[in-house]
């Protein structure tokens, strides 16, 4: 199980709007996600899940609205603060194909100034099941292996906030089970998790809250078990 210090970081999104020309990707989205919460984002393709996650990560600047991190002392720092606190797994793997698995992790560990990087990288490679392929270039990896490495990259600095955009992409059922086990460990250790999902799976069982986006707006937000399942099932049905 991936090790993590218990130091979850919550996030507050206030009146977030994102416009591309005349098209609204997000309209007046406000969400407050408490430290240690595990939230599933559901919704059809184009509903704004990816945009919301990229704004939360600090990768995309909202047209208007505020992003703040939350801890026990209250809110602090938008953009750079989010970037510094969040681990992000996107649609793309965010890995260099010409570099080996170990070189990819080493590069990002250096950029993030991860303490005891060698030990951390060795442990992560073992935990994501890529220890034997540590010296292989990423371009020789299957989609599932790349996804595992992408998750290891996101966990390099023990983030307090983990943002995952359809993290089970490319994983087979056993891979999805493995990921669910990893995320369960992180959630139990206090890490805040926000993940976009398509339908119910081993991952959706981890969520204690589900938010459904529809045409860039929050259409439903619940912590109730039955409603939560309904929201995730709704996403699957479309």
């Amino acid at each position: 199980m991936v090790s993590l210090k218990a130091h979850g970081t919550g996030i507050r999104l206030e009146n977030i709007e994102k416009r591309y020309g005349s098209i609204y990707a997000l309209k007046q989205v406000s969400l407050e996600i408490a430290s240690g919460e595990c939230v599933a984002l559901a919704g059809r393709n184009g509903s704004g899940k990816t945009t919301l996650l990229r704004i939360a990560a600090g990768l995309v600047k909202p047209t208007s609205g505020r992003v703040e991190l939350l801890d026990a002392q209250g809110a602090h720092g938008p953009r750079n603060g989010t970037r510094a606190a969040a681990g992000f797994v996107g649609h793309a793997t965010m890995l260099y194909e010409e570099l080996t698995a170990e070189e990819n992790l080493r590069l990002f560990a250096r950029l993030l100034a991860v303490p005891d990087a060698n030990i951390r990288i060795a442990r992560l490679l073992r935990e994501v099941g890529l220890e034997e392929r540590r010296g292989s270039q990423v371009r020789t990896f299957s989609r599932g292996m790349r996804q595992r490495l992408a998750i290891a990259r996101a966990l390099l600095r023990e983030p307090g906030l983990l943002l995952l955009d359809e993290p089970a992409t490319g994983l087979d059922p056993s891979g999805t089970q493995w990921l669910a086990g990893q995320l369960r460990g992180l959630r139990d250790a206090g890490c805040t998790i926000v993940m976009s999902l398509h339908g119910e799976s081993a991952l959706s069982e981890l969520a204690g809250r589900a938010v459904r986006l529809e045409r860039g707006k929050v259409a439903a937000d619940t912590r109730e078990g039955a409603d939560l399942s309904a929201i995730l099932a709704f996403s699957d049905a479309r």
């Binding site: 990229r54 600090g58 992000f88 996107g90 793309a92 010409e98 990002f108 950029l111």
Partner: protein, 224 residues
């Protein structure tokens, strides 16, 4: 300190990926070599003509090769959204530019140095005596090409018609650099070669101005 550490890590990545893929360096060297060789075969210039037209020919070849090379500079960071990963990881986005422009300068400078003996043989212009001065002009010119091209490559990578966008933005902007580097090189190609410090100063000023602009506005160029 953090900026330098990040830049050195990213420069190492640039060199390692290029060493493995050999995309940029091979393309650039072959392109410049073709231009220099074809021009020589087509016009068969005398030594006097070579001294007169050679500098312009060389710098035009370097300029077009650079625009070809710089095209993929940020484009290949978009394939797997690695640029996003870098933006999340570095505290100062200038480190991304600094690493890329250092690598691009190095690749261009290396190409230019390799072309000097080829040019000397094909165009019958002995350059060994002025090699250090020529290297200075080539370096300042390469740096100017790289700093401007790297910044514009970040812009064009996010635009439609990106293949056309970079040369369209880059070539007019580089006119002062092209004039200064050609004039400085022409003075070194002369029968009585001399290093023209006025043109060298213009080259250095161009480099400093554009490096400062990238330092100030680089972060905005990387935004989605």
């Amino acid at each position: 300190m953090n900026l330098l550490a990040n830049t050195s890590a990213l420069l190492g990545k640039e060199l390692r990926t290029e060493f493995r893929s050999r995309e940029l360096l091979t393309t650039t060297i072959v392109f410049v070599l073709l231009v220099v060789v074809l021009f020589s075969f087509t016009f068969d210039p005398s030594a006097t003509e070579s001294r007169r037209f050679g500098p312009g020919l060389l710098w035009l070849a370097f300029l077009f090769a650079a625009s070809l090379m710089l095209q993929s500079c940020f484009l290949r960071e978009q394939n797997n959204d690695t640029l996003g990963a870098l933006r999340l990881a570095v505290a100062d986005p200038f480190a991304i530019f600094l690493a890329k422009l250092s690598a691009n300068t190095l690749f261009l400078f290396l190409t230019e140095l390799l072309m000097i003996p080829v040019f000397t043989v094909l165009y019958n212009v002995p350059l060994l005596a002025v090699l250090p001065q020529l290297a200075l002009v080539l370096f300042l010119g390469s740096f100017g090409l790289a700093v401007t091209g790297t910044a514009l490559s970040a812009v064009s990578a996010q635009a439609r018609m990106r293949e056309l966008m970079l040369p369209l933005l880059l070539l007019p902007l580089l006119t002062p650099l092209l004039i200064a580097s050609t004039e400085a090189t022409a003075a070194l190609f002369d029968v009585k070669p001399a290093l023209r410090w006025d043109w060298v100063a213009i080259l250095a000023a161009f480099d400093v101005v554009f490096l400062t602009a990238v330092w100030l506005f680089g972060e905005y160029l990387l935004e989605e």
